[in-house]
Structures are given as C-alpha cells and as structure tokens.
Symmetry: C2
C-alpha cells in the first residue's frame, strides 16, 4: 500500500503582522500544504532600518524556517525583499520567493490589460508610469524601480512612513488616514501620471479601497495592485517547478505561527491581517 506523501512545508516570514496578508492569499490559493509563519515582532518594524540590520534579521528567520523543514521560503515583507533577497538566497539551500518581482509582474499585466495592448516593446524611458507606495527603506533601495524597469515600466517610488502605524492603530477607515493618503498621493502625482499604483508594503492591502478612493478623488485613473495575490501565484508556480505540487491535496492548508514578542498581541492584531482567527502562536527567541 503506497504511503501518502507528507504535505509540502512552506516557510513565510515578515517583521510582524503585514506578511499575514500574504499568508492569507497563500491559504486561498494553495491547498494541501502546511505553512510556517514567523513574525519578528520583537524587532519590528524593518521599514526604517538599514540594509545591514534588516539583512541580519531576515537571514535569521529564513535559516530557522529551513531548519524547521521549509522546502520553499516566502519573504512576505517588501523591505526584507528589497534589502536582503540576495543575502537570504545565499544563506539557505531552498528556493526563496520575494514579493517585489511578483508585484511588478502583476502591475505590468494589469496595465497591459487596462491599455488593451502590450507595451513590452517600449523602453523604460517611454513606457507606462507606475507609482510605488512603500516604506522608507524599500524606497531607498530602489528595488521596485529596478524590477519595473526590466518590464518596461517607469516607476516613481514614494515613501509613506505613516501608513503602517495608521493601519496598526486600526484606523483603516478613518478621516485622518484618508487625509494622510491624500497628502502622500498629491505629492507623488505632482511628479508623475501613473497608469498603475503598486502597494509596495504588506500593510497596505488593508487600506486598498481608501487609496483607490483618494486616487480617484484626485482624478487619477490608475489601477491599484497589491502584491499579496501575485506572490501567492508565484509560489504556486514554484511548487510546480519543484514538483512539490504532486503532494498537494484538496484539503485546506494548515499553518503554524511564531512570534518573537507577545503571542497574545500577535493573536489579537494578526487576526485582522489574516482575516481569520489565529488559534495558537508560539513564542520564538531569535536571540535579538
């Protein structure tokens, strides 16, 4: 009698809660797998920190996920992807998927769709414009500009440091948040006319519709894209490449959460990002 092969184990990590929007998309897209999620909440946020520090933290999480059996690692954090993708790939032996390339790909596809025509033959000087909203560290890395450029898109990157604290305060539908979004968008739209707005931070899907509303109020007709779903699709593709998809089943995927700070807070705040209850969170010591 053949034994059932074990479920593929997929590791996912972020500085805290934002990456749970990526886990949410992964759970929706991929069935029959087991996810390990690390939120490095004792050292969050990464978005205003230096490349050396973010890289050191991210490599610790990635190594731990590999040690715990992850066959594929997802960096569910734009800052860590922007600053540390190469370091993480060098530190582990399993494949690593970040959020930036899938996000840029999805944006290119959405813009081509909205234009009703491909634009790949254009150069990144004359190609369609994209506005990337992200943390300070992600913007300063220019990782999105580079990823968009290879797709023929011209990216303008705008740092929006207040949006993460506003989302974490729970003010996702609040006049102050709308006002802050309006200020950031007005500043950005003074220098570009984007066809697409890419949400380059895993917190921003929670204010997706607020960003869309303010964008339209400023008479910009850009399509708004978040990278969570695009990343989930890229992970599904990677599972096929690795031939792990044969081990998937139709049953819902399962997940385990680990946090480096208060597990109670992770359960409480994390549930909003994951849009479902988180029953158990394990406390994790990364030595920081």
């Amino acid at each position: 009698m053949p034994t059932t092969p074990p479920r593929p184990i997929i590791g996912v990590f972020d500085s805290g809660f934002g990456g749970l929007t990526v886990l949410r998309a992964l759970l929706r897209t991929i069935h029959g797998a087991h996810f390990l999620y690390i939120g490095d909440t004792a050292r969050l946020p990464y978005g205003a920190k230096s490349r050396a520090t973010v890289s050191r933290y991210a490599v610790e999480s990635a190594r731990l996920l590999e040690f715990r059996g992850a066959q594929l690692i997802v960096i569910a954090c734009n800052t860590a992807t922007a600053l540390a993708l190469d370091d993480i790939r060098a530190a582990v032996r399993v494949p690593v998927v970040g959020v930036i390339e899938p996000g840029a790909d999805a944006t290119a596809a959405a813009i081509a769709n909205s234009l009703g025509a491909p634009f790949m033959e254009q150069s990144d000087i004359t190609g369609p414009q994209v506005l990337v909203l992200a943390t300070d560290a992600t913007v300063q890395s220019h990782a999105y500009r580079a990823a968009c450029s290879t797709l023929g898109l011209r990216a303008t990157e705008k740092a929006c440091p207040l949006l993460v604290p506003l989302v974490e305060e729970g003010w996702t539908d609040h006049p102050v948040t709308r006002e802050v979004i309006r200020i950031y968008l007005r500043e950005a739209l003074a220098t570009c006319t984007p066809r697409g707005v890419l949400l380059g931070c895993t917190h921003y899907p929670l204010i997706h519709s607020a960003i869309e509303t303010e964008l339209h109020a400023l008479h910009a007709s850009a399509v708004v894209i978040d990278s969570a779903q695009a990343t989930a699709s890229a992970v599904a593709d990677e599972l096929r490449t690795l031939r792990l998809h044969t081990q998937l089943s139709a049953t819902a995927s399962t997940f385990d959460c680990f946090a480096t700070d208060s597990v109670e807070k992770f359960q409480r705040l994390g549930s909003h990002f994951l849009a479902q209850p988180i029953d158990t969170v394990h406390l994790l010591d990364l030595g920081g």
Copy 2:
C-alpha cells in the same frame, strides 16, 4: 600638585532618538560631565512591545554603559522605565534614574503651584486629576498611575501610538498632527478633567506647543509638563548624593553617541531631538 579628578561619566539610553530630548536637558543643566548615549535604533520602537522583550533590550544597554564606565545611568525612555526599572537596577551596580518619578514629581509641583496651595493631604481618590499621554506599553504598565497615586494625584493614562511616527516623519507643526492630538485629547477629556497634562514619552516635547494649543482649543486649562527637565534636575541631585558633583566644572559637558542601526540616520534625525549637531556616532552591536 593635585591632579584634576576625572569628569563624572553619566550613561543615558533610549530605544532611539526620543531620549535625546532628555540628553538635551541634561547638557543644559549639568556642566563638566561626560555623557554616553545609546540609541537602540536597530530594535526601536519599544513602545508597542512586551515587558519581557523591553526588559531584555534595556538591561543590555544599561550593562554596556556600566562596562564603559558610567557612574550613574539614566533611562531616557518612558517605556523602559515603566517596564524594566527594577530589572535594570538589579542588573547593574551603579544608581539608576528613570523618567517617570521625576515627571510625576514635577507635575505635582506644577499643579500645586497653579492651585496656589498644596494638595498632599488629599487622598488619590479626591486629589487633582492628571492626564498622562504615553505609548501603549507605558500605559498598560500603569507605572504613571502608581507614581502619581503616591503623590496624591489621580492619573488617567491615554495611549497615543501615532504621535511617535508623526514626530519621526517631521510633522511636528502639521494639520494632521494637530488633528490626531485633538482626537486623542477629546477621547481622554471625555473621562477626566485634568489640572495637568504629563507628556509621558520623550518624543512629545517636540510637539509640546501643539498639545498645549489643542488642549486650550478644547477649553481645558491644564498645565503641560514634560519630564526631560525634571529628570535632569533629579540627576543633578543624584550626583550630589553620590558626591560626584565635586568633580563637575564650569566647562560645557561633552557627549558620545552610540547607535545600533545606521549612524548616518542617527546623526541626521538625532540632531532635531538634541537641537544641536551630532558630530560623531559610533555603531554599536548589542547582538540583537
């Protein structure tokens, strides 16, 4: 010929930049000393983290300051004082001064002054009310409530998580910041009628006048106190107790800054908090 005694060395630490408002008051108040300042910027902010994590981080900074020769340590951080004062005192052999007790003392004095009469004979049930604005972790510790209670003051503690990011964004004189202050104050004033408002976070001195303005716009006649100057006075007293004041001179104090993340960012952002240029910042590895 008698040798000149060495300058007293005073250690000061915070999760990042806010404690520089305390260092600023210390430099103004105490001449002829040498200050060592640690900003644990790689792991900031502390304000939303758990007691265990904040305590671990704070003890590491305090131990390092003692190792580097500090004869007195100042916790220039409300959250670390609220959550870890006892742990820090147990971890080092030199005296430790926090910001909470001096802040509460200064508030009691200011209220007594504004009333034109002492109130110490009143109990903390009937005593004057104080509104404490602070981070989430400081509020949840109720350290201010306890410190105020021993002085016959009734404290209402209000968490204001967005004020630190707004100050760090540089929006110290901005309509959004005023609106956020108004929202927090309106919520707090619905439950108390304070004679004093205590700024229980070292970032808030940078928005002292905005808080005062919004408070008066809401027809509250409370006096606004920040603990930086009160802490500097407590440190001067402690130097006398330790008989270190005999080693002070009339020359300006000097200082060295250490940061656990980008030294460039510390120089740039820190100068606003210190209100003077920071020439040199040393990179420090606390192992986190």
